[in-house]
């Protein structure tokens, strides 16, 4: 049986105890009759995802063949994999990371964001990663890997990478945040997003259908239209029937536990 290889961040990660057949990649694998191999990690950087794809290429036991399909969820380029043992610690906006990795390492990571990280280097690194992926896909005879933008970012001209397919638009800006009444509100869910992969299940279905069309009929994966928008009202967030239909039970439970607690400061802010 051919396989659907996926790597990404929280847009593709599903907790082992929270599996759901309506999540887009599970549904997609079923439609394509492919076995799913999903190596994603909440909060990871692009370098983590590329390490995964390098392993998919080099590991003879689980290597991608020309019959398989690879989907890469392109996370934010500004995330950085600081410490080998903590590929999930990449992002200045997460809370409590300093408690998990210790003050010294948090200070070092904070200094990286303040003094070293910059868009020039981020842009160069993204292009280099995509160039490697395109070159590898061509030489290995892979089906064109599908690159879905998790977040808007600059990659130059997509036509510079004819071996790859790219989404039009990004999941964060065009789907996830557009489900909210106010797309700019960063605190609709307070600290815990109750959705699978930051999307309501109704939009998972639409996304799965769209990706299916892209992979089978070579149509463009357009994330800018066709999704349900502006339906996450404050009332819906507290409506158990709506929650059951649209949210992850595990994450919704965490959301309810934390919804009335004060918001914590992102760890990075503490070291400014």
């Amino acid at each position: 049986m051919s396989r659907l290889f996926i790597t990404g961040d929280s847009f593709t990660y599903v907790f082992p105890t929270d599996q759901n057949e309506n999540v887009w990649h599970v549904d997609l694998a079923k439609k394509l009759n492919l076995e799913i191999v999903n190596v994603s990690l909440w909060g990871c950087s692009q370098d983590f995802n590329w390490r995964v794809v390098h392993n998919f290429k080099e590991n003879t036991e689980i290597s991608i063949t020309p019959d398989d399909q690879l989907i890469v969820l392109l996370t934010s380029p500004s995330r950085f994999w600081f410490f080998e043992d903590r590929p999930d610690v990449t992002n200045p906006n997460v809370v409590d990371i300093d408690c998990a990795i210790g003050t010294e390492r948090a200070q070092i990571a904070s200094n990286y964001f303040r003094y070293i990280q910059r868009s020039q280097l981020d842009r160069l690194s993204v292009k280099i990663r995509l160039g490697w992926l395109a070159s590898t896909a061509r030489q290995m005879g892979w089906k064109p890997p599908l690159v879905i933008f998790g977040f808007e970012q600059f990659i130059g001209e997509p036509s510079d990478f004819p071996e790859l397919k790219f989404s039009k638009g990004s999941l964060a800006e065009n789907v996830s945040s557009m489900e909210q009444i106010d797309p700019k509100d960063q605190y609709t869910f307070r600290a815990y997003d109750a959705r699978f992969g930051h999307l309501c299940l109704s939009n998972h279905k639409i996304l799965s259908d769209k990706i299916y069309q892209t992979l089978v009929n070579n149509s463009e994966l357009d994330l800018t239209t066709g999704f349900i928008r502006h339906f996450l009202t404050p009332e819906n967030l507290l409506d158990p029937i709506f929650a059951k239909k649209e949210f992850s039970p595990l994450l919704y439970g965490r959301y309810l536990e934390n919804v009335n607690k004060p918001l914590k400061t992102p760890w990075y802010e503490k070291f400014k």
Binding site: H54, Y112, I116, R118, W132
Partner: protein, 264 residues
């Protein structure tokens, strides 16, 4: 007239306005009848070199030649305004970038930089270069390995060709009578591109054969070895034949400071 594009570190950096005809780049350009576009700096990281290639990829034509001097993978372009401050071994980092940034660089090298990441990033860069060279129909791009490093199978990059061996271990260090001595030049290398002029000539000829006749660039044989003794460092005649005039003067000035610092 085709161009010879070069990017790298001190193995290919040329001092501003320097017209030294004895260095390998001048000799090679002369043989190829090319003008030179050189985006090298001493101490450059690979990212610096790749930014140069990215910035210039649309200017490079299929008739041109591209040479990448592959520097150490553990150098990082930490601060945009100081691409040469890339190395954990730099002794005057605080002078170069200021005390605060020197501390940040030290923390980066001690806590973040690691071989697992370096190896993957080199493979990514070479994959990108292979991709660009293929689509832009460049001559096979020549990657001259400056320092020994792991970059996977060369078969993964069919639009590139690689040197056999590396400049540091197979030429530069082998010129010393004792190739294991790390501080032969006591802080400042008197040679241009870390090679005596006699080896520049050999190097230019070999690179020419590689670019024109597709012969593998073998750095492990054919170079003059064990030519550098401590006595020759004092020999003005030898210095004139084999060393860069500027570098030799800096070497003579610097070694007193170096000896004082190292209590020799």
């Amino acid at each position: 007239m085709p161009k010879l594009w070069i990017t790298g570190d001190s193995y290919s950096y040329i001092f501003p306005e320097d017209r030294d005809s004895r260095i390998w780049i001048s000799q090679l350009a002369n043989k190829l009848n090319c003008t030179v576009e050189n985006g090298s700096i001493s101490g450059a990281s690979q990212d610096y070199c790749w930014q140069y290639l990215e910035d210039n990829k649309t200017n490079i034509s299929p008739d041109d030649y591209v040479i990448v001097l592959l520097t150490k993978p553990n150098r990082y372009w930490l601060f945009e305004d100081k691409p040469e401050a890339s190395n954990s071994k730099i002794t005057n980092m605080a002078e170069m970038v200021g005390f605060k940034r020197a501390k940040i660089a030290k923390d980066f090298f001690n806590h973040i930089q690691r071989p697992e990441m370096d190896i993957m990033l080199v493979k990514n860069r070479l994959g990108w270069l292979d991709h660009v060279a293929h689509h832009r129909k460049w001559h096979k791009t020549l990657v001259i390995v400056g320092f020994n490093q792991e970059y996977g199978s060369e078969n993964s990059y069919p639009s590139l060709m690689f040197s056999k061996g590396n400049i540091n271990e197979d030429i530069s260090r082998q010129e010393q009578q004792d190739h294991t001595e790390r501080e032969f030049f006591e802080g400042y290398d008197a040679r241009y591109h870390h090679m005596v002029y006699s080896n520049h000539k050999i190097f230019a000829n070999k690179v020419y054969e590689t670019l024109v006749n597709n012969v593998q660039l073998d750095l492990t044989t054919g170079f003059i070895k064990q030519i550098l003794t401590k006595d020759q460092l004092e020999n003005g005649e030898f210095a004139e034949i084999e060393f860069s005039k500027n570098n030799y003067q800096v070497y003579l000035k610097n070694r007193m400071i170096w000896r004082k610092r190292n209590r020799v």
